[in-house]
Subunit: 425 residues, 2 copies
């Protein structure tokens, strides 16, 4: 089938945009006809870049009548939302890598797209190069997915891996990661778990086929994880990872969250190190699968953006209703369980006065809060006669654990509660 | 969009067929209208099975005018080839799990399908439940894939894992696997590497977008792997796995093979144990990804078959040219490199006379064959004054290594060549 060239408009020519431009050069049936950038004078490392198609007005891209597909690669809600909306209203299909926009206003843009019979594809928004969105929507469509556990942020996984390998503190490793360009000058979006929370919001929505609101995603970053916790976790047979997870229980309640977690050393996710990402899915009939690969970067992300472009391009001439399986409808809102009502297993690190009754005292406080314990280990008795105590609980309610933490803070036996990290079950 | 029910015909109601039937019950827009079986009187564990739609004449399925999609789940070349051909000629789309047919006669059936504007989907034929065919053809389509390394046979991976964990012999573990139903009474297809070779033939064809002939796939099974080799590999920092691999070199020559391989313990595939399968892909722009999950079984395989059915069903009413990205064309045949011309690193286990000159003698024979060595380790000097010697070579030509093996067999210093296994590079 001889077909005319598919015309692409790019919004954004940063790391991902450059990778997309370079990768698309290999495809004779695809042509980038307009590129919007913030600063037209910026020097770019793209050998074959056609400077004449560059504009600093993104509306020139979304309103260009020639363009079939608009790729939005600038991120953030504004002006991305309005640009995508305008592009759709002008008859363009959309490819985006914008996880924040999808998490916060996905419902709206998908409804606009559906109304105009356009598709929005976003493989690059979640787990970079790893094929996950298209597989869930197509070849895994026969499954009832009940659990997602994932490492979705390369920066925090790099930091935690380095802390583990080097025995270094969070602050020292963050500084090193910033120098190497793995962490931004303001690292908040990564280290406080926002980036992973955006991604799991969309991933859970897809997996459960019900809309998860970003506000219902519990979020906790890695800034309080200490070198001592990494060491204690290792001694107990665990690794500490920032895990984005989503579970659907039998009553139809979703539990979606991002927080540090102790995971067993023999689990697949425990071996996902540095900037690598991974997504584990559990469901019926598939059972359990894990997909791992590069979660960010110029070329891996370009792989996903270009894959989405080619999927649209392949059907543009063959049907008026493209990619039916890739449509998003979001008809139903998921019921979500509040973190305080969840059941978890915990790792707790306390500093206590080193006297005879302290272990019993810790046990008593837990018992009063309805918490059973798996182990209590005392170590590092210091010169000033204090001891570090590591507690692993059995499954218990989050609200009970929070009561126990308060009781420890009020107890005369306990000097400080150093860490409270959930353990994978 | 209100649409009529999509009508399915199943050929085969064994393990996979049963899983497919049970899984499809959840989909209101899909109806199984005819099922062909070998033995109509066989008792089956399918609670809601409609006995009236069962036939023992598979041609009743492929010629049934009501049916939109035929699922061929019997395996083997005959009569599957003719059934699929007839079904396509009768206007059916095809979903198959038949890796042998695809490897041996894929080109023909894809050409027939293309001629009749029908699609043949086969996610279940390779790596069971792991999404790999559809991802390669769709979301990874922008990539130039240069390397595939995979564990594609659950039976052999189970046997090798058990040999490793228990220190047991191949024969003992095979027997146990047969008793547990993980290996067949005649295990040849699995243990001699045929099953993995069928799968890598198709996977390499897809990855390289050039037809690989099954005859050009080098194949070696696991029957000669000894408990002593597993132990020696562990001591050297490796695991032994049956690896199906495909590489495309810069001159456009494909190197496709299945054989046991020593792989570093810190690699992802080293952690894929028991019946789990995994596929690692390397290419540009993606970099490196690994997909792992259940490679066989009633429900995981059903996940892939049902995913394929749903993909066809989704587009049946929206276009006359379904799933353009999933078409197979096989226009070009790949040039293949012969195993004797490949370069490999080797693990070699020799039993030698325990005298002073033996290490030097081994070194000399290797040097004469143009083989450089990484290490020679002597161990287990026995009562009858023989010693086991483990050699790891540097990269060298396969034909040189075969010459060296001959020279060892002729050498008066060497009692026997016990094992020769390639090492991952």
């Amino acid at each position: 089938m001889e077909s005319k060239k598919i015309k692409i408009g790019l919004i954004g020519l940063g790391t991902v945009g450059s990778g997309v431009y370079k990768t698309l050069e290999a495809f004779e049936n695809i042509e980038v006809v307009k590129i919007a950038v913030k600063n037209k004078n910026k020097k770019r490392n793209i050998p074959n870049l056609d400077e004449t198609i560059i504009t600093d007005d993104a509306y020139e891209v979304v309103s260009n009548p020639e363009i079939d597909i608009v790729c939005e690669l600038i991120g953030g809600v504004d002006p991305a939302f309005d640009l995508i909306k305008t592009a759709i209203e002008n008859g363009k299909h959309i490819v985006t890598a914008n996880k924040e926009l999808l998490a916060k206003r996905g419902e709206e843009i998908f409804n606009i797209a559906e109304k105009h019979n356009k598709v929005i594809l976003y493989e690059a928004a979640i787990a970079g190069g790893i094929p996950i969105i298209m597989p869930i929507k197509t070849i895994l469509a026969g499954n009832n997915i009940t659990r997602v556990e994932a490492i979705l942020n390369g920066t925090t996984n790099y930091i935690l891996t380095k802390m583990d390998v080097q025995g270094a503190s969070y602050e020292d490793v963050l500084k090193e990661a910033q120098e190497l360009g793995y962490a931004e000058t303001d690292p908040t979006g990564d280290v406080e778990g926002f980036d992973a929370a955006y991604k799991i919001t969309t991933l859970a929505t897809l997996a459960f086929k019900k809309k998860i609101r970003f506000e219902n995603v519990y979020r906790e970053g890695i800034t309080k994880v200490r070198a001592e916790d990494m060491k204690a976790a290792n001694d107990l047979g665990y690794k500490i990872k920032l895990i984005a997870s989503a579970k659907m229980d039998e009553k139809g309640y979703a539990d979606v969250r991002v927080h540090p977690m102790l995971i067993p050393q023999d689990s697949t996710l425990a071996h996902i190190d540095y900037v690598t990402n991974a997504v584990s899915l559990t469901g019926h009939p598939i059972g359990h699968i894990t997909l791992s690969g590069p979660g960010a970067g110029e070329f891996p992300t370009a792989s996903s953006v270009v894959g989405d472009i080619l999927a649209i391009a392949a059907e543009l001439d063959t049907t008026d209703y493209l990619l039916p399986m890739m449509r998003c409808r979001h008809e139903e809102l998921a019921k979500c369980i509040d973190i305080s009502d969840t059941q978890n297993k915990y790792y707790l690190s306390l500093n206590a006065k080193n006297n005879k009754g302290v272990i019993g005292n810790i046990g008593n406080i837990c018992a009063e809060c309805n918490i059973s314990l798996e182990s209590i280990v005392q170590k590092n008795v210091s010169e000033n006669n204090t001891a570090d105590i590591t507690v692993i609980t059995e499954l218990c309610k989050e609200c009970n654990m929070q009561s126990a933490v308060k009781a420890f803070e009020d107890s005369e036996f306990i000097n400080s509660v150093n860490s409270l990290i959930r353990v994978q079950i």
